[in-house]
């Protein structure tokens, strides 16, 4: 598992770790049931404090991405892909609604908006 942390980023280090593990799971790079390093091992490898990796793992556990078994370690949880997809779709819908509201405010037509979207999507 490769994780790159930036010390100069505004995003706290535990969030950087949690987000990178999440995206590795969502893209399928980390498969269901795969073992991930213990938080102590990860802290050593990243040269950061244990409490930071602990917090990252706690966040990942809370949001259901990983689970831990005492004495055995942490593993990628069974992902209900449909649920994840649905969650993402909800977010996209919300964001698109905001786009539509903004477009209407300046009189942008659906055609124009679709064209804009097409250009951005293919970038």
């Amino acid at each position: 598992m490769q994780i790159i942390i930036s010390n100069s980023s505004k995003e706290p280090i535990y969030e950087q770790i949690a987000n990178q593990v999440k995206s590795a799971i969502l893209t399928g790079e980390l498969q269901e049931g795969a073992a991930i390093p213990s938080m102590r091992k990860l802290a050593k490898d990243l040269q950061i404090s244990v409490i930071t990796t602990k917090r990252a793992y706690e966040e990942l556990e809370k949001s259901g991405f990983i689970y831990s078994i005492v004495g055995k370690g942490s593993f990628v949880a069974e992902q209900n892909l449909e649920v994840i997809r649905e969650k993402k779709l909800n977010v996209i819908e919300e964001q698109l609604n905001a786009v539509i509201t903004n477009s209407k405010e300046i009189g942008l037509s659906l055609d124009e908006l679709q064209q804009l979207m097409k250009i951005l999507y293919e970038e």
Partner: protein, 288 residues
């Protein structure tokens, strides 16, 4: 997980200096950094944890045990590293090992030789020929070779070069992969703590100012910068210390959420480094 060390209402008075009414807990399985300026009482506190000094009042418990009844059991489980050479300087490492090893039931000769090799130390040369870095490595090898659960280091990085300091931090991190181990580490070099500390205990003039996780410290403490006209008797209460200049003020807060509510976008709020915190707290905490 519980506390490995518990100090309750501990008081120790000297002429002109005192540690008074100190409550300090050290969490098992983590690294606690013990920071404070020179003379703040770090070594006095550590000596009481090791029973090298007895408090005038209060209670010291290590592994939940009392020194008066369990001194040997407690010491068996502690590894102590002190700034400087504590061994007789005419002795070599082989002699020192011969003296120290029988004191510990769990002394591990293999482990000792592993460290000697890793640190590249000569066994047959007198300690007085060792450089400061080598002396520190020798102390570490001796302290780590009996599978101690609690490792106490008093200013281990003082006077050492940056390369050795980093090697030491690597070694300590390696030790922490074992979840039962606890490290208590006093220093006034705050950059050492940035990397490995899980909890920070800050002592100032014999008082424990705080003992919080590094996340709590980062969330609570902040540097705030703004224009002078924002300050009045009420708003000043949000800060522990304010530095005024003709260009504006810079202040330390221990409650950054309060500051956000009071000043909103009118001030710049930045993360306070441990050095900032130490510097601004040198006058102690007194709001407003």
């Amino acid at each position: 997980m519980g506390n490995v060390v518990e100090l309750k209402n501990v008081t120790k008075k000297f002429k002109g200096f005192a540690v008074e009414d100190m409550d300090l807990q050290i969490k098992q399985g983590f690294v606690t950094g013990f920071m404070g300026e020179n003379g703040a009482g770090k070594s006095t506190t550590i000596k009481m944890m090791l029973n090298l000094l007895q408090p005038d009042a209060g209670e010291v418990k290590v592994f939940g045990l009392d020194y008066t009844t369990h001194e040997k059991v407690i010491k068996e489980r502690i590894g102590f590293v002190y700034d400087g050479n504590v061994f007789f300087e005419g002795l070599n490492l082989k002699d020192i090992k011969r003296i120290v090893a029988p004191a510990y039931e769990r002394w591990d000769d293999k482990l000792f030789h592993k460290y000697i090799e890793q640190f590249d130390l000569p066994l047959n040369k007198a300690m007085k020929t060792f450089s400061k870095g080598m002396q520190m490595k020798a102390s570490l090898a001796i302290a780590l070779s009996h599978h101690a659960e609690l490792i106490i280091l008093d200013e281990p990085t003082a006077g050492l070069d940056p390369i050795f300091r980093r090697e030491l931090l690597d070694l300590l991190q390696e030790l922490m992969v074992d979840g039962n181990r606890t490290i208590f580490f006093s220093t006034h070099i705050t950059s050492d703590l940035d990397r490995i500390a899980d909890y920070l205990a800050f002592i100032h003039k014999g008082d424990l100012i705080f003992n919080q996780s590094v996340h709590d410290v980062a969330e609570n403490y902040a540097l705030v910068k703004g224009k002078l006209d924002l300050l009045d008797r009420d708003t000043e209460k949000a800060f522990v210390h304010i530095r005024r200049a003709s260009t504006g003020f810079e202040a330390l807060t221990d409650n950054s959420n309060d500051v956000k509510q009071i000043f909103g976008d009118n001030v710049v709020i930045e993360r306070a480094s441990l050095e900032d915190i130490m510097y601004y707290l040198k006058g102690g905490i007194h709001h407003g």
